[in-house]
């Protein structure tokens, strides 16, 4: 188990390999379909959302207000990342991201951006909304909620020991490519 703390350095990230299990402590910002399209069309991130050296989490959480009026995250598993494939490389390049957390993997353009700019794709367990919400200590802020609605807003999470697996590293390796090729070859034997 490798412990990572934000902000992440390029060296740290380039040291990771496919299959490494990590736990992250620090800040995560969520961003999914609406945010990626907005950035792709030239939109600017609001002040307070600093992604440099940071981690973007593909997630539409369930967040409610507690009795004191603070945000409390009650469910926070990942969403399927492949939908952001057209936009991810650009965001890695322009914002200086060191890690993207999601599920289901991403494709060649993102893999190339990871290698070029020093970034990794971390796969969180899909549907593990409670296990992951437990690692969120606080929700200091939410941005662009009025524009995008709660699931698509940029949520700021303070996390401790948030677990994920490296499935795309900065060396051009992707577990998703390997499993696809292997399963394709295996299926050919049975049809």
């Amino acid at each position: 188990m490798i412990s990572l703390t934000t902000p992440l350095s390029e060296a740290t990230v380039r040291n990771l390999n496919v299959g490494d299990e990590v736990v992250i402590t620090g800040v995560l910002f969520t961003g999914r379909d609406a945010v990626h399209k907005y950035l792709h069309e030239g939109g600017q991130l609001p002040a307070g959302v600093n992604l440099r050296g940071g981690v973007l989490y593909h997630c539409g959480p369930v967040v409610v207000k507690d009795d004191q009026g603070n945000w409390k995250c009650v469910a926070a598993g990942p969403t399927t990342s492949i939908r952001e494939e057209p936009y991810q490389g650009q965001v890695i390049r322009d914002c200086g991201l060191r890690a993207v957390i999601g599920k289901g993997g991403m494709a060649d353009r993102t893999l190339a951006a990871c290698k070029e700019f020093g970034c990794v794709y971390l796969h969180a367990i899909g549907g593990a909304a409670q296990v992951l919400a437990e690692r969120i200590q606080s929700v200091p802020n939410v941005y662009m909620m009025d524009k995008f609605g709660a699931p698509e807003a940029i949520w700021e999470f303070q996390v401790v020991d948030f677990p994920a697996v490296v499935t795309m590293d900065a060396h051009g390796n992707s577990l998703h490519k390997e499993v696809l090729a292997a399963s394709q070859a295996e299926l050919a034997k049975y049809v």
Binding site: G19, E21, A34, C59, G60, P61, V62, V64, V74, A75, A76, G77, T79, T80, I82, K103, G104, G105, H123, I125, G126, G127, A128, A129, Q130, V131, A133, E134, F148, G149, A150, P151, E152, P163, V165, T167, L175, H176, E178, V179, L180, A182, S183, Q184, E186, L187, Y190, V191
Partner: protein, 292 residues
């Protein structure tokens, strides 16, 4: 009316936060099958922890509480309009309480009003029968797994699939291959052979109402169901597509008549977080017993 609203709210809460027994049994078996020390095993362990945590905290198993699909089997004379209104109120209330995510988006404006109620949400299917019983079943089906559903038209040249059960088999296995881990496997397939494009997909989802441990009364379809699961598990896609021994927990196949010109195989992919529950309701709308 209040009793009905309370019952529907409790049905939503329970469906969202507690995995049904038949699914939990299958998940535990799958954890046993994964090789120790692999990331597949890690994934299944976290899934198992998550199930317990969700139940204890009465919070959603998965944050994507998905499409809200009610199946109501009702006697003659049930006021379906009133029932639908109660269901919509229960959905709004469940959303305020955090049992459901704010999941209903206007497809033209992109706006999410946060209520979960709008054109197409929630979905209510009423089926009338001549018995006195009133049962309501609920499936919460997330968007991730919905996106990896597929509908094939046979013959399919690329798959060398002809209009027969072998062709259906090839289509179904192709759907599993294309899905990889994106549907949050190990998954469950609901399949319909036949129908039109609409009824085919709809009936494929209804197959998800079957218990995982049941068997298809048709020997032919039962054979195909078992074979799809066994073959899929040989592909090595595994939990989350990490590579591993369990890719599918089950496959349930239904059949509808078709037009001579059409031959559809419709596949709905359900994730491991198989949220499906139901209740028999009494005359005042109170819950008499749970169905799963």
């Amino acid at each position: 009316m209040n009793a009905l609203l309370d019952s529907l709210l409790e049905l939503i809460r329970r469906t969202s936060t507690e995995i049904p027994d038949d699914v939990h049994t299958a998940i535990l078996a799958s954890l046993e099958r994964e090789k120790k020390g692999t990331i597949a095993e890690s994934a299944m362990k976290i899934i198992d922890q998550n199930i317990a945590l969700a139940k204890n905290k009465s919070q959603p198993i998965c944050q994507d509480t998905g499409s809200i699909i009610f199946y109501v089997d009702c006697p003659l004379g049930l006021d379906q309009i009133a029932f639908s209104e109660a269901a919509r109120d229960a959905v709004k209330l469940a959303t305020k309480k955090g049992y459901l995510r704010q999941n209903s988006v206007d497809s033209i404006t992109g706006k999410n009003d946060g209520t979960n109620v709008g054109p197409g949400s929630p979905i209510l299917h009423f089926h009338q029968h001549r018995a006195p019983e009133l049962t309501v079943k609920l499936v919460l089906k997330g968007g991730g797994c919905e996106n990896v559903g597929a509908q094939y038209s046979l013959p399919n040249e690329k798959l060398k699939a002809n209009r027969d059960l072998d062709g259906c088999r090839k289509a179904i296995l192709d759907a599993v291959l294309q899905a990889q881990g994106k549907g949050c496997g190990p998954g469950i397939l609901g399949v319909c052979i036949g129908g039109d494009r609409a009824t085919g997909y709809e009936y494929s989802k209804q197959q998800l109402l079957r218990r995982l441990d049941d068997r298809n009364p048709s020997a032919e379809l039962d054979g195909l169901e078992q074979d799809i699961v066994a073959t899929s598990n040989k592909l090595g896609i595994g939990p989350m597509g990490f590579g591993g021994h369990t890719t599918l927990l089950g496959t349930k196949i239904g059949v509808l008549n078709r037009l001579p010109a059409s031959y559809f195989v419709s596949i709905s992919y359900m994730c491991w977080a198989f949220r499906r529950q139901g209740a028999t309701l009494g005359a005042q709308g109170e819950i008499q017993n749970w169905l799963y």
